[in-house]
């Protein structure tokens, strides 16, 4: 009797085997994504076409200004200089992240004594909250009392004005961020390395390949599916790394140490130009979206 009833309802209401069961399971996640990701994104895009500032924020009545916010972004020289600096910042950081991360991963992949302890020490930069790490590095960069200058002074007789000179403060931010980002790349690479079967290396050795040739022809291609998403993630995170810059430059007051995202923060919360900042955020979003799609497509094409 029970099975007859179920057969009748099978197409429309058998929850466990229905056509839409998977949707029901995804529902909670979909709802959260809609509320936390999609809604703010859509709201931000809407705000970017309006004039929202301190005077009218509370009233909720924001006049529509079309592309005015975007026009003021693209006609301002600062935008292009900051964009250029952000691209340089991202490129240098991600390159060093990958190079050092991969290098350390290759080292850790061998038989090493105390590998467990070394791995813990190398993970530490990732474990420390970014904010704390940035404040600590800021102390290390002080001209007179920072460790960096003390070491430089003993070795080379040099003392660099890391924090007072805007261009040097940019260098200080790069150093700090590289230190912060290496563990992530290292762990991803290590995971990827450990999934490469030993036989491939043995076969390559039999064919007479050197270590470097093995690395180039066996390791790198097989790491690509693991490194590609990591690089995309690393690029997006670095492009928007506001913590390190804001803390080490004590508020990104100087133009020579700004990146796009600190501009958004300042314009939004110190100058209350919410419409302009929303537009700038949309521009950043589109830039990163374009980069990610292009990068992933390029990787797929190579295969």
């Amino acid at each position: 009797m029970g099975s007859n009833k179920i057969k009748k309802k099978s197409g429309s209401f058998n929850m466990a085997q229905g056509r839409y069961t998977h949707l029901w399971f995804l529902m909670p996640a979909i709802i959260i994504m809609l509320l936390v990701v999609v809604y703010p994104l859509v709201y931000e895009i809407i705000v970017s076409f309006k004039n929202v500032n301190l005077l009218n924020l509370k009233s909720g009545r924001y006049p529509f200004v079309g592309l005015d916010n975007y026009k003021s972004i693209f006609t301002d020289g600062i935008f292009y200089r900051t964009l250029g600096r952000t691209v340089i910042w991202t490129f240098i950081n991600v390159t060093f992240h990958v190079v050092f991360g991969l290098f350390l991963a290759v080292l850790l992949n061998r038989k090493l004594p105390f590998k467990g302890i070394i791995r813990v020490i190398l993970i530490l930069p990732w474990a420390i909250p970014q904010y704390i790490a940035a404040i600590t590095w800021k102390g290390l960069f002080n001209f007179d009392y920072g460790t960096v200058n003390i070491v430089l002074n003993k070795l080379f007789g040099l003392q660099i004005p890391w924090l007072s000179d805007a261009s040097w403060s940019f260098a200080a931010c790069i150093i700090t961020n590289i230190w912060l980002g290496i563990p992530f790349m290292m762990m991803i690479s290590l995971g990827g390395l450990q999934s490469i079967p030993r036989e491939l290396y043995e076969a390559a050795e039999v064919d007479g390949a050197s270590h470097w040739q093995q690395f180039k022809n066996v390791t790198l291609p097989l790491l690509k599916p693991v490194l590609t998403p990591a690089i995309v993630l690393g690029t997006v995170w670095t492009f928007n790394m506001i913590n390190v810059i804001y803390i080490i430059t004590s508020g990104a007051a100087s133009e020579e140490a700004q990146i796009l995202v600190t501009m958004v923060y300042k314009k939004a919360f110190e100058y209350f130009r919410y419409g302009y900042s929303a537009a700038l955020s949309v521009v950043i979003f589109l830039i990163l979206l374009a980069f990610s799609s292009a990068f992933i497509k390029a990787q797929k094409l190579e295969n």
């Binding site: 929850m15 924020l57 009392y145 007072s164 000179d165 805007a166 004590s250 007051a253 100058y271």
Partner: protein, 422 residues
């Protein structure tokens, strides 16, 4: 069996969905009744030092004992966070009812329609009990937007009596003593102060008769940063930096640490630093920043006080009034003095013997008389943002004072335009 499975799986999905949506609900406060015995919760946001926060908490406990139906929830925020969170909170319903902060917040809160005027908020005669100049500083566009609880915030010169036996009478004396101590290797630096925030270098501008705005009472005050006064001020700053009187690089923490460890003879800081230095067992001397070329520097003075949110619900109004009256009684203002070491604002409290017998506060009379009220208009943000990076470049030797002044002026004008004002 399959039916039960169906029912169970349906129930689980329903529970999951409800669980997700439950977290998104708002806790609405019931604003319909005006029953004075109903439980009311008022939210207080403060931007104050740890010592003052502790005193606030004890006073809140006392208040709650006397008024068991009123709960006061206190949250602490730093300067920038307070402004950011308050403006964002104005869009919803979970903002504070009372904010304790400095009077330059008014330049943000009033244009943002976040707070209400207190001219008619309290019972008649309440505001007359307060010091007139303190009340003046807490006004914005002629209306009383803030109830001040302390008057001061002025920068002064503190010296380590172990290193410096006599207070310097002029800045030139200070320079000589400071450089000599450094040459004798008794200190690392003669004078230290926060070289990052322009708030600490602006006092010297007054000694050159400089001002940052042309006319604060005008409808659109103009920035005056490209003047001879400013150029002289920047030349002075560059001189004391290059000659080694002040460190090459120093933020507030470095300055404090050097002074507390006895590695600096003089420090320019405010009364908020007293407690810290005394804890470090520094024998403290306090004077106004000495004159430069016979002219007195003019640090900015400010008041700190309480503002009330604009859309305060009716049942909370009584609770807020009770709380603010309680916390600004003579005993409580004097209790707060222990924490902030500045002048209270209730006239009765100012005349109390506790104030006149406290050497640290008595020593502030002179510096406070030489201070000038800090501009609190919205445009002031543009001034700070213009001076900060250029001052950094000046110290780094990348720009000379003349070019720096012109750069500051341009940045200030751009900043004022960016604020949407002119």
């Amino acid at each position: 069996m399959k039916n039960i499975k169906k029912v169970i799986s349906l129930a689980c999905i329903a529970a999951l969905t409800v669980g997700v949506l439950a977290g998104c609900g708002k806790t609405a406060t019931d604003t319909k009744t005006t029953d004075t015995n109903k439980k009311v919760t008022i939210a207080l946001w403060d931007q104050d030092d740890p010592g003052a926060q502790k005193v606030l908490d004890t006073m809140i406990a006392d208040f709650t004992k006397a008024n068991p139906n009123i709960t006061v929830k206190r949250s602490h925020y730093e300067t920038e966070d307070l402004r950011k969170n308050y403006t964002s909170a104005s869009l919803g319903t979970t903002g504070p009812d009372i904010v304790l902060g400095p009077n330059d917040n008014l330049g943000v809160f009033v244009p943002g329609s976040l707070i209400q005027s207190l001219d008619d908020f309290f019972d008649a005669g309440f505001l007359d009990k307060f010091d007139k100049s303190a009340l003046e500083a807490a006004k914005y566009e002629g209306k009383q937007y803030m109830l001040p609880d302390r008057n001061g915030n002025e920068l002064l010169l503190m010296y380590n009596k172990k290193l410096v036996t006599e207070a310097p009478k002029t800045f030139e004396d200070l320079e000589k003593v400071g450089l000599q101590l450094k040459a004798d290797k008794k200190v690392q630096y003669g004078l230290v102060f926060n070289e990052v925030e322009p708030f600490f270098s602006i006092p010297f501008l007054g000694a050159f008769d400089g001002k940052v705005f042309d006319d604060l009472t005008a409808k659109s005050p103009k920035a005056t940063l490209n003047t001879d006064a400013v150029k002289s001020w920047l030349t002075f700053l560059k001189k004391i930096h290059d000659e080694g009187l002040i460190p090459k690089e120093a933020d507030g923490t470095i300055a404090d640490t050097l002074f507390k460890e006895g590695k600096a003879a003089f420090i320019i800081n405010g009364p908020w630093g007293f407690a810290d230095y005394q804890k470090a067992k520094i024998d403290l001397g306090i004077v106004a920043i000495p004159s430069i070329n016979g002219k007195n520097p003019a640090p900015y003075s400010a008041v700190k006080g309480y503002t009330v949110t604009a859309n305060l619900s009716a049942d909370k109004k009584d609770a807020v009034k009770k709380f603010l009256t309680f916390i600004n009684s003579k005993e409580n203002q004097l209790k707060m003095v222990d924490a902030h070491q500045q002048l209270p604002t209730l006239t009765e409290a100012i005349n109390d013997s506790k104030i006149s017998s406290n050497p640290l506060i008595a020593a502030q009379q002179d510096p406070l008389s030489k201070a000038t009220p800090m501009p609190i208009i919205t445009q002031m943000r543009a001034i700070w943002d213009a001076i900060k990076p250029v001052q950094q470049q000046l110290f780094a030797g990348k720009v000379n004072p003349d070019a720096a002044a012109a750069d500051m002026q341009k940045k200030a004008e751009d900043g004022i335009k960016a604020l949407g004002l002119n």
